[in-house]
Point group: C2
Chain length 460, copies 2
């Protein structure tokens, strides 16, 4: 396929940037860097990543921080890092929240009885083992809640905002419960921050300290729209909600790490990572099993080709991203002494669709300097380097000046799977997974083996 052929012109940019080979000025047919070509070919041919993703999604399965599944994931990570050829692989303890969903359901009870697809929101309280049943007040947004605050007491408030984008809609997931509780609601439901086919989407919510804690759950977009339309028709819909959800004290969990020690500058670290924890409702394939697998498999590709770059490549599989980034915080704390040894941190946590490039949390000059490292990935469609988000888990490093890069994919369909039961193994296309491994392996090799100092964020 055309997408997986390496355009020679793009390769020249890398060669020029790396200075590893003179540009053949006398010959108009440019040469292809055989190392980069080999990395990409190896990544596209290897089935390690696909099998590792299958195993993580199917056999490890659900893996919220602090759960039994997360402990299986630790073992998976250590074993897969060893198979990938890490010189060392280890875990680092992280104290993380623990929450269990238990059995849960919602039903429309008036004007008729029918099940409503739902998922309790992460860290929500439950209904104390007794179904909670009440009339539903459907509102479109915070403004309508404020305008109708006198109607809220004793009701379940449903927030059914139009879909804008994740960043906008996720505010309702985070704050619906406390905003509704302020006016006496007994529970909060949301249209999810995502879409699909009558698909609810979970995700973490947060209680305000100064409001009563009420149960909070996601319906599907269609379920929310049904209730909203019924309300608009003058029906007073009622819903029954049953949730066994329970919060526990923070407990020990772990990040999983593996180093491929650099051959010349081992103290300089190129960190690559994803988060190993995943919501308990599917396989966590796109979020973020794919990201973890890409990083481990990228290491394996370099090892399979006996490529040992100048700098150390460190894979970090973070825990507890979904509860708020406790794994990333812990990494920055544990490694506080060596943060300035981190020359770049790359996170993949935007789904495992076809690669598109890299978003960089830095000034425009640094981004321009970084672009040549991705240029050879044009054949994969992954050479787009632009300003943007790097990642939750590497956020604490980026805040302390580390160059933060986000692995980007064509994520138009991401919110069909994100935090939903549909985020299972077969939701990731094998060819996309392989292309992501190719893009990341080639990029980090170019970065980690670069014979000059790497671009670093400039002070403004």
């Amino acid at each position: 396929m055309n997408r997986i052929l390496l355009p020679v012109l793009a390769t020249l940019l890398l060669l020029a940037a790396c200075g590893s080979s003179p540009t053949p000025q006398s010959d108009p047919a440019p040469t292809v860097d055989p190392v980069i070509e080999a990395i990409i070919s190896q990544a596209l041919a290897d089935t390690f990543a696909l099998d590792a993703l299958r195993e993580l999604c199917d056999e490890v399965g659900p893996r919220l921080a602090g759960s039994e599944g997360m402990r299986r994931a630790h073992a998976w990570g250590l074993r897969r890092l060893a198979e990938a050829g890490a010189d060392t692989a280890w875990t680092e303890e992280v104290m993380a929240p623990r929450w269990e969903r238990g059995v849960e359901w919602a039903r429309l009870t008036h004007p008729y009885d029918t099940p409503l697809p739902m998922l309790g929101l992460g860290r929500s309280i439950g209904t104390d083992g007794v179904p909670l049943e009440a009339e539903v007040l459907a509102v479109s947004d915070w403004d309508e809640l404020e305008a109708r605050q006198d109607e809220v007491a004793g009701k379940i408030v449903l927030f059914d905002p139009p879909w804008v984008h994740y960043g906008a809609n996720v505010q309702y997931r985070a704050h619906a419960a406390s905003r509704a509780a302020e006016y006496g609601a007994v529970a909060a439901l949301i249209r999810p921050a995502g879409f699909g086919q009558n698909t609810p989407h979970t995700g973490v919510m947060r209680y305000a300290d100064d409001q009563p804690r009420i149960p909070s759950a996601s319906l599907s977009s269609e379920g929310a729209a049904l209730i909203h339309r019924l309300s608009d028709q003058g029906v007073k819909p009622r819903v029954a909600l049953s949730m066994e959800a329970e919060n526990f004290d923070d407990g020990p969990c772990a990040n999983v790490l593996g180093d491929l020690r650099g051959r010349e500058l081992p103290e300089e670290i190129v960190l690559i990572g994803g988060h190993l924890d995943a919501w308990d409702t599917g396989g966590g394939a796109h979020d973020d099993g794919g990201g973890c697998v890409i990083m481990v498999a990228a290491l394996k590709v370099l090892n399979d080709l006996d490529l040992r770059p100048r700098r150390t490549i460190r894979v970090v599989l973070f825990t507890s991203e979904e509860y708020g980034g406790q794994g990333g915080d812990a990494y920055a704390e544990i490694h506080a002494d060596e943060i300035d040894h981190h020359v770049l941190a790359l996170e993949s946590d935007a789904g495992c669709f076809a690669p598109s490039g890299f978003s960089v949390k830095a000034d425009s000059l640094t981004i321009t300097e970084l672009a040549p490292f991705a240029a050879p990935l044009a054949g994969l469609g992954a050479d787009n380097v632009y300003p943007g988000w790097a990642g939750v888990d590497i956020g604490p490093l980026v805040e302390q000046g580390v160059l933060g890069v986000g692995h980007r994919v064509h994520g138009e369909e991401y919110f069909r799977y994100h935090h939903a039961p549909s985020d299972v193994f077969e939701a990731v296309r094998p060819e996309d997974l392989a292309a992501n491994v190719a893009a990341v392996a080639a990029f980090i090799y170019a970065v980690a083996d670069y014979p000059h100092p790497l671009p670093q964020p400039k002070d403004d």
Copy 2:
């Protein structure tokens, strides 16, 4: 939009067929039959159908034959037929099975605990109020069941055949329970006869008289694949299944009918229909709320334009199609004396996507004779007339010689919604619904007003 413009060339074919206007041989710009044009324009502009579908899906809601929802649907049908201008609207009692789903769930319990999206199959027994838990034997097809019959006793058998097409895969839905019970299975699960996003699909199953009755349910394709892959890895997956499903004695239900009496040949009946019952898991929008609404709305379009065709148009909203066609059987019995007065029967039960034409259960000469009636629908993309299926509910009429026609749509995505929780109001695109009303209204007007004897199936 181009699709909803009436091509004048196609109209000429109808004019020629109907003999209502001479072809303007001297003018290369053909005229458009103003009546057909008006019917299509009226249908595309009217919002009656969309509101009726919303009301049926949202306010009537789930409506299995014999249920309280079906009684709401009877009232909806009578009222909407009256609004549409039927001269008379009435119900005719049908004895139909009654089955209730109750609360149900499935969980994978080994190698870890996680919910599995599921729907009990229609008319399955339940688990007697106690979850049933057993190891799962996953097989790909009947042949593998036979080959592994010695492994079945005491297990839940999962049938996970590759998706071929509905007609092939639905055999597993129908017969999985009894085939597995023959070798001592305690329950049967299926990969659904449909697809989606971790979506289970229900539908009727049948017990063989000579085998023990065991509970039977649909998983999602992804859930079935997960269990199958785990089995392939040597894991012995276990599933817990809880179903409150219960069968009751046949009870009274009803077809809902409405006549627009013909102005010249009232004793000749053009029957148009869909089925009013729907699975209890969504709104029954595509299956077959849309079909019912199309027929009622087509009647309204003719009335709005004061068009009263020569022959009687009879709308029949059948009950209990999903349980096996008891409504269609009852209609043929009740109207046994006038079956030879039915000059054509048109059913819409293939989803409510963009119209494509009409399939005809008749010889090729009759199909050729019928094609001109649909030719003016080329602008809607609905002029394709070809041999094929007519419909379950009109089947008994067709068997007795009535010309049977199926309303056809672009149904590539139908089995994403069919018998699934995703078959809700917004799964039908308003423009598709309107185009279907236009196509059916224009077609049945041309048929019912045709000044000559209508084409009839020839004896072979």
